[in-house]
Amino acid sequence: MKAPPPDPAADDKFPGVPGFCTWRGVYFFVFAFFVLVVVLLALFSRWFA
């Protein structure tokens, strides 16, 4: 028996990224990474000032 074709809409609900179950989790990770980058840039400026 042939497997049914994958449903793109169902695929879209899950990011398919290891460690993330929802898109909200992906967005939160990106936001947290952005905050980390800004903090590191501020520390970088302070360190070499």
């Binding site: 990106v30 952005f34 501020a42 400026s45």
Partner: protein, 575 residues
């Protein structure tokens, strides 16, 4: 450049263009031509989004910005990750659900034909203007330093990009951008490594960064609220958020990069890839500029980095003045080198009091050197009022030509041209698509069902915009500060366009007539602020705020006009 550099340059540039054109020559379906292959994965989408934004100016001007003003420009990108999250969560799913070719097609479905035409018209106006700058900017710099003819440089790069963009449409754009970004990343990493190797023995990255920091070049984040400062955390977060939201969410040259692809997931991941990498990438390019500043502290640095412009005026009646300035700069440069060495020495001994005094002396020497550079610029302007007195765009390319080995020079010039072609291709593709879908099909509705005719029209319009961009670059005079010129043009229009889209997405009760007139009023306000900024000093604030003002004015006016419209005009959108 010698023949080896020319071989590297021509093989990479013509090779990538020919590969793109050949590989996509049978692109006959409208969907593939306008949105790219429906099998495109997130990596290709992410690189395509990045390549469309990263023009040649990114790699010519931004190191110069880091050299001259330090790395504070990175704050301009602070709104970008937040904007991309909003685009992924709200904009992209609706574009995919409606299956639109352009962002403005969505406005037609949500509002009416006149609002769609207004959105498309504002895009064509601002992107058409910017298209001339993106082709002119690298051409003027490369032509100046390499001794090429400016008109031939503009025509050659313009025609190359027209050929493969017209042939394969969006599919060719994504395919070539992938290879072009490979060349760009490779070239920039090599340039960074060569720069580090050429720093004085024993200095290393840490020592160079300490010198740059002490000279005020590594202030990445400015928490001050001063409204006259162009780049602070707040202008970056708020103004940058609105600029990025408008650029990524409503500018067709970006929307076209991510609305195709195998699934919604691929577009989202491609945008998140950019949200993660953009700030570190811009930081690296600015840091390269700041390290170039340190490098030139230990080398015989020219008084003016656009040496061709300098030499043109350094003869004849002005020879004595210009020669005097060169000698004065050389003497002060030697004094500054000595002060830097003293500062490094006392710093390594941990003597805090002596270190403070040595740093003050070093900064004083830097101020004196900068004063001579300003004198040199004033002398240039006095000798020729039309002379280009901004030289920071020439710092990085000057380093490449003077200090990189042959072969790598060709590769780094290829980096600049690859970046120019990549962003230009994205723009032409979007201009051609918007003209076909939002203008041509509006006025020829019977042709909408003839797929082959639509593809032919899209090809003709893409070629038309390419020729317009070449003509504009050949005949228009541009501001010297090229990267800011593009951002200013964008900021004048982007806020209002974003306002239209925010109303479309989030204010379901507002109809087409209200948002149309609100957008016209808001755009008039922004034009007035821009044109009157010199007459009224209160209006002379950072251009990044235009995005916020234009957007807010459009949204507020929409609500006000909708409130006073007759009942028949009030409707709730289902989109």
């Amino acid at each position: 450049m010698n023949s080896f550099d020319w071989i590297v340059l021509l093989v990479t540039m013509v090779g990538i263009a020919a590969y793109g054109a050949w590989h996509t020559r049978h692109t006959d379906h409208l969907d593939t031509y306008l949105k790219g292959s429906n099998a495109t994965r997130w990596g290709t989408i992410g690189i395509s989004v990045m390549a469309t934004q990263a023009s040649a100016i990114t790699f010519l001007s931004i190191p110069g910005q880091g050299f001259e003003s330090g790395i504070g420009f990175v704050q301009n990108y602070f709104g970008l990750p937040l904007a991309l999250i909003i685009v992924c969560a709200f904009f992209l799913p609706i574009y995919r659900k409606l299956g639109v070719y352009t962002a403005y097609e969505f406005l037609g479905q949500r509002f009416d034909a006149k609002t769609r035409l207004l959105g498309a018209g504002l895009f064509l106006l601002q992107r058409g203007l910017a298209a001339g700058v993106t082709i002119y900017a690298p051409a003027i710099i490369l032509a100046t330093v390499l001794g090429w003819r400016l008109d031939l440089t503009i025509i050659a790069t313009g025609l190359l990009v027209i050929i493969y963009t017209v042939t394969g449409g969006s599919a060719a754009v994504s395919l070539t951008q992938k290879w072009q970004m490979g060349i760009i990343f490779g070239g920039m990493v090599i340039a960074f490594a060569v720069l580090l190797m050429k720093l004085p023995a024993g200095l290393g990255f840490s020592g160079a960064a300490h010198i740059a920091g002490a000279m005020g070049k590594l202030q990445a984040v400015d928490f001050s609220f001063a409204p006259d400062k162009r780049y602070t955390l707040w202008t970056g977060l708020i103004g940058g958020l609105f600029l990025s939201l408008s650029y990524f969410g409503t500018d067709q040259s970006q929307v076209q990069r991510y609305i195709g692809g195998a699934a919604l997931r691929e577009g989202r991941l491609g945008l998140m890839f950019n949200a993660l990498l953009k700030i570190p990438m811009q930081f690296s390019i600015l840091l390269l500029g700041a390290l170039l500043f340190v490098f030139y502290q230990f080398q015989p640095a020219p008084v003016f980095y656009n040496r061709v412009e300098w030499q043109q005026h350094a003869t004849g009646a002005n020879a004595a003045t210009f020669h005097g300035l060169e000698e004065k700069k050389a003497a002060l440069h030697a004094v500054k080198q000595e002060k830097i060495r003293i500062w490094l020495d006392v710093r390594s001994r941990g003597d805090t009091v002596a270190e403070t005094a040595a740093r003050a002396a070093m900064l004083q020497a830097e101020t004196a050197t900068e004063a001579v550079r300003n004198e040199a610029k004033a002398a240039l302007a006095a000798a020729d009022p039309l002379a280009k007195t901004k030289d920071s765009d020439y710092v990085f390319i000057g380093f490449v030509l003077d200090y990189l080995p042959h072969g790598l020079i060709g590769l780094l010039v290829a980096v600049m041209i690859a970046a120019a072609l990549g962003s230009k291709a994205g723009e032409l593709n979007a201009l051609g698509t918007t003209t076909t879908i939002d203008l041509w099909r509006q006025f020829r509705p019977l042709a909408a069902h003839d797929e082959a005719r639509n593809v032919r029209a899209a090809k003709w319009f893409t070629a038309f915009w390419g020729i317009v961009a070449i003509a504009f670059a050949l005949f228009a005079g541009f501001s010297e500060n090229l990267i800011e010129a593009i951002n200013i043009i964008g900021s004048i229009f982007y806020g209002v366009v974003l306002g239209i889209f925010l109303v479309a997405f989030f204010l379901k009760r507002v109809g087409g007539t209200a948002v149309f007139w609100a957008a016209i009023i808001a755009q008039t306000i922004i034009f007035a602020i821009y044109l009157l900024r010199h007459r009224f000093p209160n209006l002379d604030f950072s251009y990044l705020w235009y995005n916020l003002i234009g957007c807010t004015a459009c949204v507020v006016m929409s609500l006000m006009i909708q409130a006073v419209l007759p009942r028949a005009e009030n409707r709730v959108s289902n989109l």
